[in-house]
């Protein structure tokens, strides 16, 4: 009740101010009249009484002022008034306002977007119940049977297994398309704690071979490919020419293991298929800690589990098998690769915000210096210091609100663009939306910003500059100048840091671009072709299909050759085989050699212009039934047979009894990535497609390499021709080899691009800051400069006079920036290639470029100052 009436009173105070004010003056007039009446009664004359009453009453205005203050909303009224004043004063300085708001928006927007991204990708809890209890095993066992064993044997964790990114042919009424399936164990839903939106999850019986033909669809596929068919449950779909029954539909939010997963199918357990159970497929474990169990317990039981699983293998595994296994939180493992990059980008965004704050602080400082007289006047007229501070605060708040509003818009735009700027395999990007987290980041950034840019001018006022009224010209105090120069130094230091980081990434890109990949990418178009049972029931039929497709394509104009391989160079697919190598016996229990295996048709080397170093290329005679042959890379030959010819040496795959003979040595090719093979690969070998067709479960997926005189026109023509003539064949990923190469460095490129953008903005802001500070200083010192010129100082002398302080500050800042970059650059090390993180080129060019830019920005106002007309400036005042 009391609260309500108080609230009503406050409202009245706010909105019925005039009425209350007139009531107050009426009341005071009444008091005055009564006082006068009393005095008259004591025998004074009218005039005497009026004067005496006034005297006794005291100043009416101060009483009403105090009474008004007690209405308790004066601070709010003041704020509204201050805001109005702030807007009015900004209207008189539109350039200042615009620059300050844009600068703030830039800093805040970038910061908000990058921090939201980093939060979403690295820290936001995964969308499963108790996500912190989900674990995975890094560098542990993989494969169908090993993970099933892990599930059966583990005590502290409930393990499930999944195999992401299995591309299958999805046969729809009119066409067949590629669909991305995740092959999962039946207990995955229980481990993750999810349930289908409709229908049911898999049963454990459906893991058994023969009962495994059931599937669960993602919401996206159901909506896009099945037109949101309400009767989807129980419907049959054809995957790789096998009928599957749809038993469930997942909710839209479910994106395990990747957001591009279209459907889920159960793992097929078939104890008789030894290769499938132990050899192929990297079924990956994910688990949930059992109640009471800890991560440490999960880790502790791993070595014993791995030893038992190793002994279950039908062939002897190396003693060190899975010995490096680590149980890690699933969220951590997911963000593993992207972490350094996002940290670097977030730090860069933060630096950009700091630079922006420095600029706005400097703008406000010079504005404050110009307004000294205004504030001194108002202080002299009775405004209290707190009141003036509040007005400055209101101005800052107006700036900040405008900057934040614009910054939020900017952040939303950036957030929409980021998923395209960051590499496609960045985890959890699909969860990135403009949401309340974004707002809270903006709010935090705003407060930080206000403290950073608003404090300096307010401190200055707090220390009091009442002498300004007396002073004839408005000059900045020594401490203000120092503050302003300090800000410039910090800004340029941070800009240097950004520039060094950007140069390091730029140099990395350059190094990557100049890597000789060993193939001629300009005229080759690649596409993935897959075919199932109807085309590949036997290897012969499969090879015949490839031959037919080749002939059909060669009939097209502009196509010169068609070759086939398991993977195209640089498409980042894994293809490694464990082998025994002649002359290099391994002791039992030691890990075998691992060779990268590329399966190719005979024309592959000449189409890709891979030079032959010794022996011969494959020919059509290297077919099935003929002696098994291989070609190895130059560095492989050198590694294993440094002092003799590799020709005629024998290499035997562990999973296969046929020994292959080396018939040729070719130049090295960047097959996996431009930065080389993973460290555990010992060399590279090529195998004829005809002798080793990679046919899995009566289906194939191969890459066609089509050499054309007009590579840009080919993809559409290829697709049209093949879709028309070859039913049951699915095409995907049509692109030039150049695009594949370019995609393979998407990670480095996106980092370089974003860092370069931040660095360019940082440089721009820093330079604008230098320009602003020098212009302002020069304007303040016009009279001094006039005197110097009148006394005969040369233009060079005047310029030096105006710019030397700022340049010195820049130099110091730059040096500090280089030092900081030197100390911090190891954070970028994992993203660099071909250079060290202390690359001298980057560490020299970045600061030099920055200093040159700063010098240029300083010279402009310096030159202007040197042309001051001494007569004019001295006559002023």
């Amino acid at each position: 009740m009391l609260l309500l009436s108080r609230l009503r009173l406050r409202f009245q105070s706010l909105f019925r101010r005039e009425a209350l004010d007139s009531q107050l003056s009426q009341e005071l007039a009444f008091h005055l009249a009564e006082l006068k009446a009393e005095l008259l009664a004591q025998g004074m004359t009218d005039a005497q009484a009026t004067a005496a009453a006034r005297r006794a009453f005291g100043p009416v205005s101060s009483i009403s002022e105090q009474s008004r203050d007690h209405r308790s909303v004066s601070w709010l009224e003041d704020l509204i008034a201050d805001t109005r004043i702030a807007f009015r004063s900004f209207a008189h300085a539109p350039t200042f306002f615009l620059i300050a708001v844009l600068t703030l928006a830039l800093g805040l927007g970038t910061n908000t977007a990058l921090f939201s991204t980093a939060y979403t990708v690295l820290f936001r809890p995964l969308p499963y119940p108790s996500p912190e209890r989900l674990v995975t095993v890094e560098e542990g066992v993989g494969g169908v049977r090993p993970v099933i064993s892990l599930r059966e044997l583990a005590h502290s964790v409930d393990y499930a297994g999944y195999l992401p990114n299995n591309d299958l042919n999805l046969q729809l009424a009119t066409e067949s398309t590629r669909a991305r399936a995740a092959v999962v164990t039946a207990n995955l839903a229980a481990v993750l704690g999810v349930a289908p939106a409709r229908g049911r999850w898999f049963t454990s019986a459906e893991e058994r071979s023969g009962q495994h033909r059931v599937t669960i669809l993602s919401h996206r596929v159901w909506r896009d490919r099945f037109n949101a068919d309400p009767a989807i449950l129980g419907r049959r779909v054809v995957l790789n020419e096998e009928p599957f029954e749809v038993v469930g539909l997942m909710p839209p939010s479910f994106a395990f293991p990747t957001p591009t997963t279209d459907l889920w199918i159960p793992i097929r357990i078939d104890p008789r298929d030894v290769g499938h159970m132990w050899g192929s497929g990297n079924l990956t474990p994910i688990g949930r800690l059992r109640p009471g169990a800890t991560l440490a317990a999960a880790q502790a039981e791993l070595p014993a589990l791995n030893n038992r699983i190793r002994d279950q293998f039908p062939w002897r595994m190396p003693d060190a098998y899975a010995s490096g296994a680590r149980a890690v939180p699933y969220a951590e493992s997911l963000a593993h690769d992207i972490r350094p990059k996002l940290f670097a980008l977030s730090a860069a965004a933060l630096f950009l915000l700091l630079i922006a704050c420095g600029n706005v602080a400097n703008l406000l400082l010079s504005r404050a210096v110009r307004r000294d007289r205004e504030f001194a006047m108002r202080a002299a007229l009775g405004a209290r210091r707190g009141r003036l501070l509040r007005q400055l605060l209101a101005e800052n708040l107006v700036l900040l609100s405008a900057g934040s509003a614009l910054g939020l818009l900017f952040a939303a735009l950036l957030l929409a663009a980021l998923p395209r700027l960051l590499p496609k395999d960045t985890p959890r990007l699909h969860e990135l939306t403009a949401d309340p987290t974004l707002l809270s980041f903006t709010a935090v950034s705003m407060v930080v910003t206000l403290v950073l840019f608003g404090t300096a001018p307010m401190l200055r006022l707090w220390r009091g500059r009442s002498d300004a009224l007396a002073g004839r010209s408005l000059t900045a105090s020594r401490s203000t100048v120092r503050l302003s120069l300090g800000l410039i130094g910090v800004q340029l230091g941070l800009a240097t840091l950004l520039l060094v980081a950007a140069s390091l990434m730029g140099r990395t890109l350059y190094q990557l671009a100049s890597v000789e990949s060993g193939v001629n990418p300009t005229s080759i178009v690649t596409m993935k072709l897959s075919a199932g049972l109807s085309r590949c029931a036997t290897s012969e039929r499969c090879l015949a299909l490839l031959e037919d497709v080749s002939q059909r394509l060669l009939a097209l104009p502009s196509i010169r050759s068609v070759n086939w391989a398991n993977y195209a160079p640089l498409d980042k697919e894994f293809s490694a085989t464990a082998v025994d190598i002649e002359d290099h016996p391994k002791p039992a229990g030691a890990p075998a050699f691992v060779l990268w295996q590329t399966t190719i048709t005979p024309g592959y080397f000449s189409a890709l212009a891979i030079p032959l170093r010794a022996g011969r290329w494959f020919t059509a005679a290297d077919r099935r039934g003929a002696p098994e042959v291989i070609v190895i890379s130059e560095s492989t030959a050198k590694r294993f047979w440094p002092n003799e010819s590799a020709l005629g040496k024998r290499i035997r795959p562990l999973s296969n009894q046929a020994t292959r003979t080396v018939v040729g040595v070719v130049a090295d090719v960047a097959q996996y990535s431009l930065t080389g093979f993973p460290h555990w690969v010992d060399g590279a070998q090529y195998v004829p497609l005809a002798q080793s067709l990679p046919r899995v479960a009566q289906s194939i997926e191969l890459t066609a390499l089509v050499e054309s005189t007009q590579p840009q026109l080919v993809p559409a023509a290829l697709a049209a021709t093949l879709r028309q003539d070859f039913s049951g064949v699915t095409l995907s990923r049509l692109q030039t080899l150049g695009q594949t190469r370019s995609d393979s460095v998407a990670d480095q490129r996106s980092t370089a691009l974003l860092l370069a953008t931040f660095a360019a903005l940082g440089l721009l802001l820093g330079v604008v800051g230098v320009y602003g500070v020098i212009s302002h200083r020069a304007a303040q010192r016009t009279r001094e400069i006039g005197i110097h010129i009148a006394l005969g100082a040369s233009a060079a002398r005047v310029i030096t006079l105006v710019i030397h302080e700022t340049l010195f500050a820049s130099l110091v800042g730059c040096a500090a920036g280089v030092a900081a970059a030197f100390a911090l650059s190891h954070l970028l090390a994992s993203l660099l290639f071909g250079i060290t993180n202390h690359d001298p080129v980057a560490f020299v060019t970045a600061p030099v470029a920055l200093l040159l830019a700063a010098l240029l920005a300083a010279l402009l106002p310096g030159l202007r100052a040197s042309r001051v007309d001494p007569a004019l400036t001295l006559r002023q005042e």
């Binding site: 005071l28 009444f30 008091h31 009483i63 308790s72």
Partner: protein, 109 residues
């Protein structure tokens, strides 16, 4: 004329609340009443009176009504609200305790 005693704020509030507890009064009358009852010891300055009245009004302890006074002029009459009555009781209690304590000290120390 003796120098009016400085009334500390809380005390003035208490005096005002007590003065209007029986009948609504306008500002002038409140000042006069306090002066008369205290035998001219307590002179309430206008500069303190009106701010105090408006503060109490904002606290919703007193309510005001504008109506003609005895002299025929329009004046603003202040009356105690129920919340103000509670507040008065509370402050009276505090005052009693305080003055009793001071008296004790003065008598026995």
């Amino acid at each position: 004329m003796s120098k009016p005693s400085d009334l500390i704020q809380g005390t003035l509030d208490l005096l005002i609340l007590k003065t209007i507890s029986t009948t609504p009064l306008h500002g002038w009358a409140i000042a006069k009443r306090i002066q008369q009852i205290s035998n001219d010891v307590l002179l309430v300055q206008q500069g303190s009176l009106y701010p105090a009245l408006h503060r109490l009004e904002q606290q919703a302890w007193i309510t005001s009504e504008t109506k003609p006074s005895d002299s025929g002029r329009i004046a603003k009459f202040y009356a105690l609200s129920p919340a103000g009555r509670e507040q008065l009781a509370k402050e009276l209690g505090q005052w009693d305790r305080l003055s009793a304590a001071i008296a004790l000290v003065l008598k026995h120390a």
